[in-house]
């Protein structure tokens, strides 16, 4: 599983199964200095191991995107990073401490997660839903402080949903609803945000809209973002750091321009393709070979 894709450019050494310590990509900081990293974790459900001995570090201030084919373990890795899934071996470290040793509410003040499936209770308004993101900051006596109010306002404004605040979540379009869920996670005011396939049920325009929002959050507001995405071209365009996974192992990681090559895509997705520069951004654009349909 340690196939090393031979890339045309200077490749960042892919971390192997054993976990080379050299996967801190470009910074010259000491290895493992990032706020969130996983050290040799083995994760899975019940007895089924999905990924073994993973070493991952999320560069501070990056927009990290995890890509890979279905069932490659990318969502599982994200769940482990968010401590929703406890690794059977190894540990996830947040700010120098094992994440499982930090009280759950304290973790939730530093690290937010937008899960794949969330349920909006029937009849809930947008502002009410976003306000629930404040739970980690609230106590039995302090249930609605001025900070809570300011955070909810800020989250609504940042996601462009201020005008929707009074509306019922049930009435919104898919794109609006996803922005509202992002607003709820933002109201949590965590420096690190994890997003599990945030664009999955959106049409193309809303996908781009959401990714632009994520990029803004990363660039302008300094959030460290980690997202699982299906669309490789979206990942190439918006990620500052890319992690490619296959069969529960990390095949390549680094800046998209450095790691995305035809060989890598063929290796990871089994898709023959060409890589051309994106005419808009210059980032790698994956064009599948397929068979020409017209003569």
């Amino acid at each position: 599983m340690t196939t090393n894709p031979q890339t045309g450019r200077t490749p960042v050494p892919p971390s192997s199964l054993a976990g080379t310590p050299a996967d801190a990509p470009v910074t010259d900081a000491a290895p493992r200095a990032d706020r969130l990293h996983a050290d040799g974790i083995t994760v899975g459900y019940d007895d089924r191991v999905i990924a073994r001995d993973l070493d991952v570090s999320i560069p501070d201030g990056s927009f990290t995107v995890i890509v890979g084919p279905n069932a490659c373990g990318k969502s599982t890795l994200l769940r482990a990073l968010s401590r929703l899934l406890k690794p059977s071996r190894g540990q996830v470290v947040l700010d120098g401490r094992s994440i499982s040793s930090i009280p759950a509410k304290e973790v939730a003040r530093r690290l937010g997660l937008l899960p794949q499936s969330s349920i909006a209770p029937e009849g809930i308004t947008v502002a009410d839903l976003v306000a629930r993101g404040r739970y980690p900051h609230q106590t039995l006596l302090r249930q609605w402080s001025r900070e809570d109010e300011a955070a909810v306002l800020g989250a609504l404004a940042a996601t462009g949903t201020t005008g929707l605040a009074d509306r019922l979540v049930d009435e919104l379009s898919g794109g609006q609803r996803q922005r509202v869920w992002v607003a709820m996670v933002l109201a949590q005011e965590t420096p690190i945000l994890l997003l599990d396939e945030p664009t999955t049920f959106l049409d193309i325009a809303h996908q781009i809209e959401l990714l632009e929002l994520c990029a803004d959050l990363n660039r302008d507001r300094g959030h460290t973002l980690v997202a699982v995405l299906h669309d490789l071209n979206h990942a190439c365009r918006y990620a500052t750091h890319l992690i490619a996974m296959k069969d529960g192992a990390i095949v390549a990681e680094g800046a998209p321009g450095d790691v995305v090559t035809a060989a890598l895509v063929e290796d990871v997705f089994g898709l023959p393709c060409r890589i051309i520069p994106d005419p808009v951004t210059g980032t790698p654009l994956v064009v599948p070979e397929g068979r020409p349909r017209r003569a």
Partner: protein, 368 residues
Amino acid sequence: MSAPVRDQVPTSPGVPDDGGHRRGFGRPTRVVRAFGGRVSLRLDVRTLAVCAALALVGLALGVVALTTGDYPLSVPQVLDALVGAADGPVRLVVVEWRLPRALLALVLGAALGTSGAIFQSITRNPLGSPDVIGFSTGAYTGALVVILVVGGGYAGVAAGALVGGVLTAAAVYLLAYRRGVQGFRLVVVGIAVSAMLASVNQWLVVTADLETAMAAAVWGAGSLHGATWAQAAPASVLAVLLVLPLAWLAPRMGLLELGDDAAAALGLRTERVRLALVVVGVALTALATAAAGPIAFVALAAPQLARRLTGAPGVRLLPAAVMGAVLLAASDLVAQRAFAPTQLPVGVVTVSLGGFYLVWLLVREARK
């Protein structure tokens, strides 16, 4: 549905308009802050108003229960009796006969309504109420075993109901457990367990001798008839004790409704909170069943009726509790007075009402 005024400039959750009301939650909201911000609360005005109105209705039903009957009394007479200034017979009728029954109806109704809200929230399903998912049936089984084997006695039957309800809940919880408990699985497993226990109950009654079977059937109908302080006092104290942890659990219950992942991501220990909620919910149902026998429908209907009145998202505990109290108090009045002097078991009244409600609910769910 009276929608709040929408034609104003959309202000945000933080901005108070005149009078301290805040808009931006889509509903009138009042924020209370005290002690330099160390204490703060966000209150939903309509929910509070509905709860207050229902509490008044409950109180009025209590007054009706205390003043009417074979021996009609005026309100001043009842008040005299309550403060201990009445003479023998009035005191006896009010304090010893009517008050424990009226109090028990309100308290057990509130307990059932709360328990229903807990399970409907956990299962995210309006059918996920303790009387549907087998806890009441299990409590009946426990009581039956005591009646048939030991031969009854109030404390024994109550203990049997308690043990039966708790064991059934544990069985349903464990059978539905697979990497955590999911709502729909809990409902389906509960209905299956409930069906099995119902046939066990049937078998127990059929094989018993006639007199015992009659006693069992009377208990099984669920009645507040002949309730005394021996039941009302401990039941009320226990209900209050059981409700205390809900102050801590209620906001967490609202988060669980967002889904396990979202709740866990917000820092909730989901399984632990759910288990705590289940324990309190089962205890409240078992308490009501032990005191009065299985009373159906209140736990099922109260949370949903309250939700319709408040228009609040999800099921909430306090409105469900006061609605439950009103439902059971009203049902018990019907049971006492509708065919007087014949006394109906209150369980019969709630089951008849519940039949209509359940049909309506199923039709509505099926159309979704």
